[in-house]
């Protein structure tokens, strides 16, 4: 049996760990608040773009009646042969099952698409260091013939494996700048238009509130139903997990429900949808040309900021659990220490008493 000194040391070490997890929890709570604000601030733009696009597609047919051509190549639906998967994970660990859940969802899609004769090819675009590292361990990186940065010719791809990583974006989660996200969106759109991919899905952790978040696989391209992206699969948290998250949020002082943004959102919904005959300054093709990349980029931006908020929420919950576990451990060790001490004292008394009786 461990002696009192050992147990004392153990308790001190667990106490230190508890200090750290507590601090991490509070840091995550603060970061979560900031991420939530950012997600909220980004909403008017996203809603407006969606609203105007939806209204435009209602008023103008996607097919040009005169020529029968599609108004924009992003509406083109082809059989899914090459799929681009955008995987949004976190940059750091210590967030419970956050990264693991996203990876599981992503690998499910990959398995589905590559197994039993589906014979599809998958490109992976990894956002977030954790996902990138895990994907890199499993799949090779795509190789292109060397390209000149200034030229805008499409690079020639040498595909060696069915699943390859085409890019990663370090630091994007740390500071989600819309211009960088727009660049990524333009890149994805260019690949789609040039027929290098036939569909694009994004795997990320949706964040509605601290207790309501889930891993979703959403279709980004082709654009089918604007404003309601098709969800291919999702992973909901269990009620026990939700309870845990609520408890963590309560102790960290984070509001459970999001700040009321309904009014602003409703107003943004009206963008370009008033019941009047608009004068369209540009022909429909040009409007679509300008709007669609913006729409795709705002969807990407939205999923990135939501994923960041979800990551902080997950870390906060995980660290709260760790703090609680440390407290339990300290209690258990303290009890054990007291018992050991008591046992030693009792033993000494017995020795003294039996010694006295022998005299």
């Amino acid at each position: 049996m461990a002696n009192v000194l050992d147990l004392k040391r153990r308790i001190r070490s667990v106490k230190n760990t508890r200090q750290i997890t507590k601090a991490m929890k509070m840091v995550s709570a603060a970061k979560l608040r900031r991420a939530q604000e950012r997600a909220l601030a980004a909403r008017p733009y996203a809603e407006s773009i969606t609203a105007v696009l939806a209204s435009l597609t209602r008023r103008i047919e996607i097919f040009d009646p005169a020529t029968g051509n599609l108004r924009h190549p992003l509406f083109a639906v082809r059989p899914e042969k090459n799929i681009l998967l955008v995987v949004v994970t976190g940059d750091k660990g210590f967030a419970g099952a956050f990264n693991a859940n996203i990876m599981k969802a992503a690998l499910n899609v990959i398995d589905e698409s590559t197994s039993d004769g589906a014979d599809k090819q998958i490109d992976i675009e990894a956002i977030g260091r954790k996902g990138r590292d895990l994907m890199k361990r499993r799949f090779p990186t795509a190789k292109f013939d060397s390209v000149d940065i200034d030229s805008l010719e499409r690079p020639v791809r040498n595909r060696a494996s069915a699943v390859e990583i085409t890019g990663d974006h370090p630091g994007l989660l740390d500071k989600p700048v819309s211009s960088r996200v727009f660049k990524l969106a333009s890149d994805i759109i260019a690949r789609y238009i040039h027929g290098e991919i036939d569909a694009c899905y994004i795997v990320y952790n949706e964040f509605k509130s601290v207790i309501s978040q889930r891993v979703v696989v959403e279709r980004l391209l082709p654009l089918m139903d604007i404003g309601r992206p098709e969800v291919r699969s999702l992973l909901e948290p269990t009620s026990a997990e939700k309870e845990r998250a609520a408890e963590a949020a309560l102790t960290a002082g984070v509001a459970l429900t999001e700040a009321d943004a309904t009014e602003a959102v409703e107003e943004s919904h009206k963008f370009g949808t008033a019941n009047v005959d608009y004068i369209y300054e540009q022909p429909a093709e040009e409007l679509f040309d300008g709007l669609l990349p913006q729409y795709v980029s705002s969807m990407l931006y939205h999923s990135i900021v939501e994923s960041v908020a979800a990551e902080h929420a997950a870390r906060m919950t995980a660290m709260d659990s760790a703090t609680n576990n440390a407290s339990d451990m300290i209690d258990a060790y303290t009890l054990q220490m007291n018992r050991v001490r008591q046992a030693a004292i009792t033993k000494e008394i017995i020795e003294i008493v039996s010694g006295a009786a022998a005299v």
């Binding site: 819309s178 211009s179 963008f271 370009g272 300054e281």
Partner: protein
């Protein structure tokens, strides 16, 4: 009474946040094919924006200018919503970077060869840089 109802509500939104929201007397907008000004009671319109300055007249702080790059505007008789991909105050413009961007645009233009997409891309970059520089230069006057 009439004055209040004759005010035009302008909202300037970027992907990251809402930059400006207030009533103004009029607003000048850089549409893709030229500037136009909107007053209260304009006909409903949806237009794509180019690179240039949005000028807001009669805000609480007087006339305000924002340099915007690409986006959309919805004009309704009493409301104008500007969706800009990027919006900066003239004072926030990084002149050396804009100059660098202009040089890059010209380089892209020169190397575009016979690829129409490349020309479009180069034009895009040049227009953005020129608008930024013009906007920044205006500030000093």
């Amino acid at each position: 009474m009439t004055e209040i109802s004759n005010a035009l509500r302008v909202k300037l939104v970027t992907p990251e946040r809402v930059l400006f929201e207030h009533t103004v007397e009029s607003v000048e907008l850089p549409a893709k094919n030229g500037y136009f000004e909107v007053l209260y009671g304009a006909a409903p319109l949806v237009a794509e924006l180019g690179a240039g300055d949005v000028t807001l007249h009669g805000t609480p702080e007087g006339t305000q200018r924002y340099n915007v790059n690409w986006g959309f505007v919805e004009v309704l008789p009493e409301r104008v919503t500007i969706l800009a991909t990027d919006a900066l105050k003239p004072a926030e413009i990084d002149v050396p970077r804009a100059e660098e961007q202009l040089a890059r645009g010209h380089r892209e233009w020169d190397s575009a060869g016979d690829n129409p997409e490349a020309y479009d891309e180069a034009l895009h970059v040049i227009a953005e840089a020129e608008a930024k520089l013009a906007s920044a230069a205006d500030k000093q006057h």
